[in-house]
Symmetry: C2
Subunit: 100 residues, 2 copies
C-alpha cells in the first residue's frame, strides 16, 4: 500500500534555501528504494519552513530508506540548519479521483 | 510553478469512509483542470481524519477547480460528513531529488 510522508521542517533564519538544496539534490537511490514522489516546497509567507511530500511503495520502504548512506549523509549535513520545529503526517493512500 | 495543497479533513465518527468514497470518485475534470496528483489517505490510528495530497499546475488552476460543477457537487455532498476540523498547508514546489 502506498505510504505518504508529509512534513514541515523548520530552518534557522536564512538557512531555508540551503536546506532545500540538500533535499533536492538528485538521488536515484531513493527511486531504487521505492520512492515514487518526493516534492520539496516553500511558501513566500513562511521564510523558515521547508515542506516535503513523499510517496513510497510502503511504510517499510520509507523506513529502510533512512538507512541509505546518501540519506544518512544528507541528514547529517542538514542537521545544523534545522531549528527543531517539525510537523507532518504519515498515512496510507486509499485512493485517487485521478485513477479508475 | 507546481502548487501543492496538503490537507486533513475531520469526519464525524463513522463517516470517514463515506467521505473517502466521495473524494476518490473518478473525476477526469480534475486532470483537465490541471491536477497532477490527488491522493486520499487514512491512518488506522486516526479513524476520523481523511488526508489529502494535491499537486496542481498552479495555484490558479487549483482555485479555478473549486468552481467545477463536479467539485462543487462533491463539496455539497461531503459537507454533512465534516466535523469542521481541518488542517493543512499549501506551498509552491521548488524541486525534487527524483528529478535531474
Amino acid at each position: 500500500m502506498t505510504f505518504a510522508n508529509i512534513g514541515t521542517l523548520g530552518a534557522h533564519p536564512g538557512k531555508r534555501d540551503e536546506l532545500i538544496r540538500i533535499l533536492t539534490r538528485p538521488n536515484n537511490a531513493l527511486i531504487e528504494a521505492g520512492c515514487r514522489i518526493y516534492e520539496v516546497g516553500a511558501h513566500e509567507d513562511d521564510p523558515n519552513t521547508v515542506f516535503v511530500i513523499e510517496l513510497w511503495d510502503s511504510a517499510a520502504a520509507h523506513r529502510a530508506s533512512l538507512e541509505l548512506p546518501s540519506v544518512r549523509a544528507a541528514i547529517v549535513e542538514a542537521m545544523p540548519l534545522l531549528s527543531g520545529e517539525m510537523g507532518g503526517n504519515h498515512f496510507d493512500v486509499v485512493g485517487s479521483p485521478l485513477r479508475r
